[in-house]
Amino acid sequence: MLTKAEVEHVALLARLDLSDEEKERYTTQLAKILEYAKILDELDTADVSPTAHVLPLQNVFRPDRVGPHLPAEDVVGNSPDEEDGFFKVPRIF
């Protein structure tokens, strides 16, 4: 069973600030979802090799050629804050 501690861990990794009520609610909801997904465990996959990709494609390459860059104003255009063409972000640590 999924624990509240695991939900807190996942929330921390995702930088989500959950209230106590939310933690309880998501613990129940996520547990149910995981329980449902467990149906897959019933399949016998002994003869199935691990699948890295679902499409029957491999070796899709592009040649090593430089193409057009994004115009300067578009690069930082959507950013909350910029300085001198740089993205400006809060101090990290």
């Binding site: 592009r62 040649p63 057009p68 860059h69 400006k88 972000v89």
Partner: protein
Amino acid sequence: MNGYEAVIGLEVHVELKTDSKIFCHSSTAFGGAQNRQVCPVCLGLPGTLPVLNRQVVEYGIRVALALNCEVARFCKFDRKHYFYPDLPKNYQISQYDLPLAYDGHLDFRTDDGEQHRCRIVRVHMEEDAGKLIHRNENAKAPYALVDYNRTGVPLLEIVSGPDIRSAEAARAYLVELKTVIQYTGVSDCKMEEGSLRCDANVSVRPRGSEVLGTKTEIKNLNSFRAVHKALDYEIKRQISVYEAGGRVVQETRSWDEEKGVTVPMRSKEEADDYRYFPDPDLVPLVISQSWIDKIQQDLPELPEARRRRYRKEYGLSAYDAQVLTMFRETAEYFEECVRLYPHPKTVANWVMGDLARLLNAEQVEIGDCRVRPGQLAALLRLIDAGTISGKIAKEILEEMFASGKDPQAVVAEKDLVQITDADTLGTLVDEVLANHPGPVQDYRQGKTKALGFLVGQVMKATRGKANPALVNALLKEKLDR
């Protein structure tokens, strides 16, 4: 180190010098204006699709083969998740459980001449992150500026086995790794520009023990010297912790170059939980044997093989072989000279001596050197033919280096042909003897040192062009008469 031994493994990141990034067509050029070499793919904008640059795989296989690795016939890309402003997608595309290559080794030699072998655990491809510039660090409102030009530049990560036993061996391993990668031509490996970066894992244990001690990871190693000094420091630190009855804490530490110490870094919170999974945007890579064979055939002769050949075929010392193979361009220059003038030791002396001095002084790469191998060979033949003396040859080399002229042209222009005519020199010798009665008397009274002075006077009178052996002989003949 009394009773302890260090266990070191290195993780090296090398930037591949493709023209475009690993998953998009943005330029990889170094030093461009901020955020001018980006596109929707490397900025991680929604709805974009990465497509693998074939040249990255080609370069990766080249390095893998040069490091004696098995190249995977099947591999894939995975997402490695962490939140940091230098990573616009919030994940880095890397390779997790199926890397490009594995199970190789690198042979290298420490300064004491001892030969070592270090295993290469794996080589994988990934994308580089952006660059952060911290501002107002000590002020009230610190912030950071982000430049994504480097985001998506192709990297190879090369992970060594825990086989290195000293700080000096770690340095030597890294130097050899750099040399080998430069030979393959896939990276500049400039530590100062960040195209070669190194992290070190280090622990210590009682000598003879098979159990590994608790390791620390050292970051911020920006030069070969830093690798040596930081590991030396860290090994001593860990030993002193054990000696004091303490326990080493598993942590990431940063090398402080100025203070000469390693200090604990504040860790990214639970950063080790990267939640890897296969990247659904990228399809698997299936590498054919024929592709691997083709790359293997095109590999240049690697430094260690060259060194062995120089010692065996050319009879050079281990030291000469080491110096001449440090850069592929130097080795190729040297070999071309030897092909045209088959006296390897003489060529080695000139390439490592006078030519290297000129290259260093003018900060010129040997590939751009105006003295071409054929011209150096011609110069050496002029000495053998007695046309010029060895001393004059050094002068001529300088002129060739500056102007790119052939040695014969410099000799003719500057009237530098050696004087080997006994009559001409005889007259000059007579003059010198007449003008310096003191030294002549000294010599005749047994002070043979005076001969050197007299030789010098004749050389001076001919601006160095006199054949020194002949001058010696003539002087002796006349003095001893």
